[in-house]
Amino acid sequence: MSMSSAAAAAVNPSVPAAGDRSQRAQIVLVLLCIALVVTAAFGASSGASDASALAVLKDWLLPGTGADAVLSERDRIIIYDIRLPRVAMGIMVGAALAVSGAVMQGLFRNPLADPGIVGVSAGASLGAVSVIVLGTTVLAPVTALLGIYALPLAAFVGSLAVTLILYKVATRRGQTSIATMLLAGIALGAMATALTGLLIFVADDRQLRDLTFWSLGSLAGATWTKVFAAGSMVVVALATTPFFARGLNALALGEASAAHLGVPVQRLKHGAILVVSAATGASVAVSGGIAFVGIIVPHLLRLLIGPDNRYLLPCATLLGACLLLLADALSRTIVAPAELPIGIITAAAGGPFFLWILLRKRGVLDL
C-alpha cells in the first residue's frame, strides 16, 4: 500500500509524503513574512498624530519631487524618531520573546517552559533594576565602561544565572523533571523578585518612576539608542538559531538518543542556554515584563506546522514580532489618548491561553 503511494510520489516529487509538513511550513513562513511587513507598516502609520508614513516613504524614495516634497519637520520627527524605533523595538522584542520560548521548550522538552514562567525573566529584571538603581553609585564603573550596553548586558547576566541554576537543578543524568523545573523556577523567580524589591525599596523618586512603567512592560520610550543596544544582542542570538534547529529536533527524543544521532549535546545545551538568556535579557532590558508571548507563539505554530524547529524557530521569530506589534497598536488605541502598558495586554490574553493549554494536556505535568 505504501509502496504504491511511495512510487506515486517518486513519479511526482512535488507531492509531499504523508506526515511531511515542510511544504506547509514553507508556505506559512512566506505568509508570516508578508504579515510582518503589513503589521510593521500599520504600526508606523497609526498613532495619535496624523503624520503620514506614506508621505515620509515617498520623500525617502524620491527626495525633492512631487507635491509631497515639502514634508513638515514635525512629521519627519514623529515617523523617524518616535514610531519607527518603536516598531523596530516591537519586532525585536516580539521575536526575542517568541524564540527564547521556543528554544527553551526544545531544551527542556516541554511545551510549558517559558522564560517568564520559570523565573528567567525575573532574573533579567533583577539585572536590569540593579543597573537602574545602582548605576550611579555602586555600579558606576560598570555603567561607565559599558555605556548603553550596561542595561541589556546586566539583564543577560541575570537571565543566564537563573537559566544555568534551573538547568542544574532540574536535570539529572539527561532527564529533565518538569515538576522540578517549574517549582525551581518559582523559587528562583521569587528570590530574584525579592532582591529586585529590595533595590526598589532603596530607589529614589526619579528611579521609582522609571521602574514602575518599565516593570509593567512597555514599548513606549523606544529610541534608536535602545534599539541598537538591545537589538545587537537579539540579532546575534537569533542568527545562531538555524545552527541548532536540527539538534533541538533530535533532543526531543531525549539526550541519549540525540547523542546517538551524532548531536554534540553538551554544546547544543550550552548554546541554547546562551541564546535564551541573551534574547530574554535584551527584551526585558528594553521592555520590562511582557509575559506569555514565548508560550503562545510556539504553541500556535506547533498546531499549524508541527514542532520541527527548522521551521518553528523562523516562524516564531516572525509571528512573535507580528503579535507584539499588534498588541502595541492595541495598547496605544484602546484607551487613547492615554496608553496602556503592553504587558497588561499580553498577560490578559496569555493567562487564559496558558490555562487552555493546561486543560488540553493535563498529563503533561505528571506531578
Binding site: 509524503a17 511531511d20 536540527r246 529536533n249 514542532p307
Partner: protein, 263 residues
C-alpha cells in the same frame, strides 16, 4: 568487531557492571540476556558512549570513550527501550531524524524516500502521517526502530561493518511483530552488519542469536553459542528458577513456540 576487556561501569557510587569481557562480531546477532538488574542496559549504555567506564571497550579497534558523537553515529545506531515525546511530531518526522547524519548509505536521491521504506519494513506502511503520541507503545517502538534503521541503513558502508544496538527491541510487541523485528535484525547481520540486542525471551534468543552473553550481577556468567550456553544449570544459577531446557510440558497443556513459525 566490538571487544570489551575487564569493563566496569558505575552509576553514582554504585558499581553496576564489573570485569565484563564481551565480544560481538559483524555478521552475527549477539544477544545479551540476564535477569532484571543484572547490568545489561548499563553495559549497553557504556557501549553506546552514554556512560563512562573503566577497562577497554573497542569498536572496530577504536576506544569507545574517544569516539565523537558524530563519528559513532556513522557506525552504529541505538534503539532505546522506549521514547516519550512532548511535542506532536508525525511518525515520518521522527523516522526522518535518522537521516540527519547523512550516512544512511543510500544514493542521494533515495534518502528522501527512505523513511517510507523503513516504515514498510517494520510493518507500519502508511503510518507516516500519524502523530507519534497517538500510537500504541508497540507501534512507537517500531517507529523508533525505523528511525534507527534509517541512520545505518546499509549494513556495510565504505567496507566497514555497522551495528545496531537494540535494548529490548521486542519487549512491547505482539508475537507477529516480535518475529518481524527479529527477522530484520537477522537480515541485517546476514548482510554483513552487526547486531547487539538485549533480549528477555529465551526462545527468541535461542532461535535468532548466533552468540549469547549471559549477564548476572554485573558480570558475564557465560558466553557462547545458544546450544552451548542455555543449560538447566545456568538458568537455575542465573535466573534463580528451576526450568528444564528442551522439556515438553505435560500432555494436554498448550504451548506456542516462535520456532514453530511457518517459513
Amino acid at each position: 568487531m566490538i571487544e570489551a576487556t575487564d569493563v566496569g561501569v558505575s552509576i553514582g557510587s554504585k558499581r553496576i557492571v564489573e570485569g565484563v569481557a564481551f565480544r560481538a562480531l559483524p555478521g552475527q546477532v549477539t544477544a545479551i540476556v540476564g535477569p532484571n538488574g543484572s547490568g545489561k542496559t548499563t553495559f549497553l549504555k557504556a557501549l553506546a558512549g552514554d556512560l563512562p567506564y573503566s577497562g577497554r571497550l573497542t569498536f572496530e579497534g577504536r576506544e569507545v570513550a574517544r569516539m565523537r558523537p558524530n563519528e559513532a553515529a556513522g557506525v552504529r545506531a541505538v534503539l532505546p527501550q522506549s521514547t516519550q515525546l512532548a511535542f506532536p511530531f508525525t511518525v515520518r518526522e521522527i523516522v526522518r531524524l535518522g537521516l540527519m547524519g547523512g550516512r544512511s548509505g543510500v544514493l542521494a536521491g533515495e534518502a528522501e524516500r527512505l523513511p517510507e521504506r523503513a516504515l514498510a519494513k517494520v510493518d507500519l506502511a502508511g503510518f507516516g502521517g500519524r502523530l507519534y503520541q497517538e500510537l500504541s507503545g508497540g507501534e512507537q517502538q517500531r517507529v523508533q526502530l525505523a528511525r534507527v534503521l534509517c541512520q545505518v541503513w546499509a549494513p556495510v558502508l565504505e567496507g566497514r561493518p555497522r551495528y545496531l544496538f537494540l535494548d529490548e527491541p521486542v519487549s512491547s510487541l505482539d508475537i507477529k511483530h516480535q518475529l518481524v523485528i527479529m527477522d530484520i535484525a537477522r537480515d541485517y547481520a546476514r548482510r554483513g552488519g552487526g547486531v547487539v540486542a538485549i533480549l528477555h525471551d529465551l526462545n527468541l534468543t535461542a532461535m535468532y542469536a548466533d552468540h549469547i552473553a549471559v549477564m548476572h550481577r554485573g558480570r558475564v556468567a557465560a558466553a557462547g553459542e545458544p546450544r552451548d550456553v542455555l543449560s538447566d544449570g545456568l538458568i537455575e544459577e542465573v535466573f534463580d528458577c528451576r526450568l528444564r531446557v528442551g522439556a515438553l510440558p505435560a500432555s494436554g497443556m498448550p504451548f506456542v513456540l516462535p520456532q514453530s513459525v511457518a517459513l
